[in-house]
Symmetry: C2
């Protein structure tokens, strides 16, 4: 049975020592996020994750969700009680404005908490996670009446939320969607259609479920410009806030899938269900896109979270499992064999995952902080620059953290040998659960295309230039500092690759867009390596400063070793990405479709 | 529901045009393998795989095996009938000497057939596959009496075989094993102990199961030098060959695991079971090792097989699924959207898998051919050189083909988007099934260590030198040929990396073995890339020759494009591997064990 210990100290180190959260006290809401409040929230979330959610993870996988003939769906044993505790803890609304019952704390903190929930029990964490996404959509676009009607109970978690985009014939290409909305005399709409892959679409954790549904209003244009967003509650809500009759929406079936068994993935049938327009007619897709960044960051966190919990269990196993002897001679001669952590290949595996996890955690917190600034700053220029950063980094963070997060669960499973393949150890569940994060909220190939096709050139490349200047500036500033050289020198090389690759796209993809498409995934991963490398430099800087103030300790010196491992063994991959990008679309696109 | 079409034409092209099987007609048994016999065998195996085994793959995954309270194990619906057809087809013994009922055809052909069986239904194919492994062990080491008693019925498949190595506390480190053997007056032994992870340990497909068991004879030395190999039948076999009483061996439980559900992975309890010594006392481990190469090649084939079937289904889906438009404008304007195969990132995915599959198939056939030569040649020097090759390439082929095979199933699954995560499409099963191949028959980290720690330096590096000379000689020979330049020039660069990395180990790992251990996995993958690159050069050479004789056709020109893709996009990775190797063990080994 896997265990989990939330990385509270590491998160605090990042927030306090690396990113200096205290410097953002002027942002609305950040004043309340004093170091002791932040620490208290994290320690409480850690306790809930470790003690309540972790033990339910295997149970949830084994039992899965059950759809009854009446269309109701039961979650696994223990989930109802755990969700009740979630509601009582007020976890869903920690970053929601106080007027709707939230605590108005930075979204950065929500991201840190969500990592813990996902590590402990990803399938469970999706229920509150999707509710947070629906809350964000309503906050941004719904009328005051709709907000007042739905938000307070969603913020507590008494009601949960969902996102309904995909249909059987359309996922990525939402322009093809067919779900219909017919306007009624009272201003509401009748929604009819079938949605698939609806996470948390039906369950027994909440008294109501608030579906956000994309549909096409009768007579609206074809394609993406005729799509509107609606709120469709499972049970209608009366004007006094009490629950009314069932609405015409039901769960037709739940999917049998590779992982996240404890989250119900539903086919949802809308049969003339009453819905209310969120935002403007035909502007449903842009409305969805405004919260895409947060949603994608949330999925990136899942990649990190599973990588972290898989790492922890692999490290424990590697220290316990006795097998063979160290290459340089027995290291624990009193034991029947050495623990497998003495073997360089096991070390390499653990170091690779660890070097990813710490930098990835920094990157999601840093990106979330930019999101907070973009939403909360009173300085327009600061908002714009933070928003640029968020837009540029979102596809990178989503694509890279979920690809690597999955790969890391596979590596951690490998440390267990044959035992990793057996369900009871829980390692194979991490692999199966992590796999979905590469797919949903925009498959990673789409993230890469979003980055290369949309974000790079946006506003004349303003966001990219700002990123390159920030990283380049940091390197320049530190290049004379002997303590920082081992980190900034390799980062300089990698940044050079990123600049050259960006240039290559500018020169070669205008006339032939396939040249960008064929290199998009490599570019995204190269970008991710540079961003993670930059985070390691920031961490190294803080670790050196921390050691100066508090004396050199094992924890800080481990960070420096891990930073060096990243620079020596992971960052050099940018060269291979660059070589692939430069090969262009030629051999990739040459064969006729029939040849496949 | 996934489909499968066996790659008969590609296999024939490799055997005939690339490797010129006809040139080996002087090897015993090869004379019978005329081109028409080979083709007939492959077409028949293809039919059986496509029509009988493929439809049972999902069924097998869904139902799994069931252990009844009496210890008997039922295989999934349809497996018994399919296995009966397997026996009737004589598939198990196609490469077994005629005196035991086999057809004495090249093992190369068995490898080609096994790829098809594994693509169609890996969990099923393991039952005959393990039987073939047990046959090989008995052929190599058993006394004439034991051979006569067991082999004929195993060769038909009336009885199946297993390998019993692992115990709860020992997998890789067999020196720790505890299963006991006590000699009896009649020359037999009483075997007592518990074995785990025993594939096909108990089932209902055959009337008897012949277990090969590693155990320690009472009084034998501790460690690996006190291990002996025994044959322990499920039902004892009377001298007239008829079945006698049940032996003291039973299936204690079957494991719940990530994949290959249709193969029963058993805990086997030996409770004073009667066993007979195979080979010499205390020489069990070397006996096992003599058939390790074939067993590992068999697992490598599983990696290729799942990559192939996953590719085929992803290619079909990519041509059918309509979503979005080509970057350069609609390619199928009459359809609601373009099929996703127009997107460069989807193409990149398909080309990557395909460029692996064709070269990997060449590599396993080529390695198997070396195995045939090592066993059958009458020229001692030829036998030695083939054996060297086999020994050197086995860890590379096992490690690289299963790592990449798994990664390719993940990539193929990604092409399906959300549908790839749903069980009914079958793509997620390929991922789960492929995962085990990286673990069993020596986890891939062990393969890398075997390569670097054992095979490189063996006999003064004779095998490595021979490989480098063969590849280097080929490059030199073709470097003046303009048609071959696009393939041999990049291979020369990669071969250079391999040579330099080998040199680096010689210079840096003698004094500090961890320097080899920390680079072992990178070296194995670098070696794999060079070997696959060499295969692509051989294929390109044959494709150009074929086109000259038969006229340029789509099939041959697709091979040249795919070879170029490999050279441009996959081979350059050797540089990143080399960079990692050169970084040595420093940051990998620096942290104390407690820091993890």
């Amino acid at each position: 049975m896997p265990t989990y210990k939330a990385p509270v100290d590491d998160t605090l180190f990042l927030l306090n020592d690396v990113f200096h959260l205290d410097r953002y006290g002027n942002l609305p809401g950040f004043g309340d996020a004093s170091p002791d409040v932040v620490e208290a929230v994290l320690r409480e979330a850690a306790k809930f994750s470790e003690e309540v959610l972790t033990p339910l993870n295997r149970v949830g996988d084994k039992e899965g969700c059950t759809r009854h003939p009446d269309g109701s769906v039961a979650t696994p044993t223990g989930f109802k009680d755990a969700f009740k505790q979630m509601v009582e803890g007020g976890w869903i609304g920690i970053s929601v404005p106080a007027e709707f019952g939230g605590q108005d704390l930075p979204a950065t903190l929500t991201v840190a908490v969500n990592e813990m929930l996902c590590s402990a029990n990803m399938a469970f964490a999706m229920y509150p996670g999707l509710t947070q996404g629906a809350i964000a959509a309503l906050l941004a676009h719904a009328s005051p009446e709709l907000k007042k009607k739905y938000l307070p109970k969603m913020v507590t978690g008494e009601w949960t939320g969902t996102m309904n985009l995909t249909e059987p014939h359309c996922g990525t290409d939402l322009g093809l969607l067919r779900t219909k909305a017919v306007k009624q005399a009272d201003g509401s709409y009748q929604i009819t259609g079938t949605k698939i892959f609806i996470s948390a679409g039906e369950h027994d954790l909440a008294s109501n479920i608030v579906h956000l549904v994309l549909a096409r209003i009768e007579g609206a244009p074809a394609g993406t410009k005729g799509i509107s967003l609606f709120v469709v509650p499972k049970l209608t809500v009366k004007d006094d806030g009490s629950l009314g009759a069932p609405n015409g929406v039901s769960c037709g079936s739940i999917e049998e899938k590779m992982g996240i068994h404890a989250n119900s993935t539903c086919v949802m049938n809308y049969d003339g269900a009453a819905g209310w327009l969120v935002g403007q007619e035909n502007r449903g897709l842009p409305a969805m896109f405004t919260m895409m960044n947060e949603a994608r960051l949330g999925v990136a966190v899942q990649g990190l979270a599973l990588s972290e919990v898989a790492y922890q269990n692999a490290a424990i196993y590697a220290k316990e499992r006795l097998q063979g002897r160290a290459l340089s001679g027995a290291k624990y001669p009193d034991k029947a064999a050495d623990p497998i952590i003495v073997h360089p290949d096991v070390r390499r595996t653990l170091m690779t995952i660890r070097a990813f996890n710490e930098a990835a955690r920094a990157l999601v917190l840093w990106t979330a902080l930019k999101g907070d600034i973009a939403r909360r700053s009173e300085d327009g220029k600061e908002r714009q620059s933070a928003d640029d950063y968020m837009g540029l980094l979102t596809p990178v963070v989503k694509g890279v953290l979920t690809d690597s997060g999955f790969a890391n669960t596979v590596m951690a499973q490998q440390v267990f040998g044959g035992h990793g393949y057996i369900a009871e150890h829980g390692m194979e569940q991490f692999v199966r659960d992590a796999r979905i994060a590469m797919i949903y909220e925009g498959a990673n190939g789409i993230q890469a295309l979003d980055l290369v096709g949309r974000k790079l050139g946006k506003d004349g490349g303003r966001a990219l230039m700002a990123f390159i200047n920030e990283v380049g500036g940091f390197i320049k500033e530190k290049s004379a500092d002997d303590g920082m050289k081992p980190y900034v020198t390799p980062l300089g090389v990698a940044l050079g690759h990123l600049q050259q690759a960006s240039m290559w796209f500018m020169q070669n993809a205008m006339a032939k867009p396939d040249n960008a498409g064929a290199g998009a995934t490599d570019y995204m991963h190269m970008f991710g390596l540079v961003a993670l490398g930059y985070m390691w430099c920031r961490i190294a800087e803080a670790a050196i400063a921390h050691a100066k103030t508090n004396g050199a300790g094992h924890r800080m010196s481990a960070k420096l070793t891990t930073a060096r491992f990243f620079m020596e063994r992971m960052l050099p991959e940018t060269a291979a990405h660059f070589a692939r990008i430069q090969s262009g679309a030629g051999s990739t696109m040459e064969l006729p479709d029939e040849a496949f």
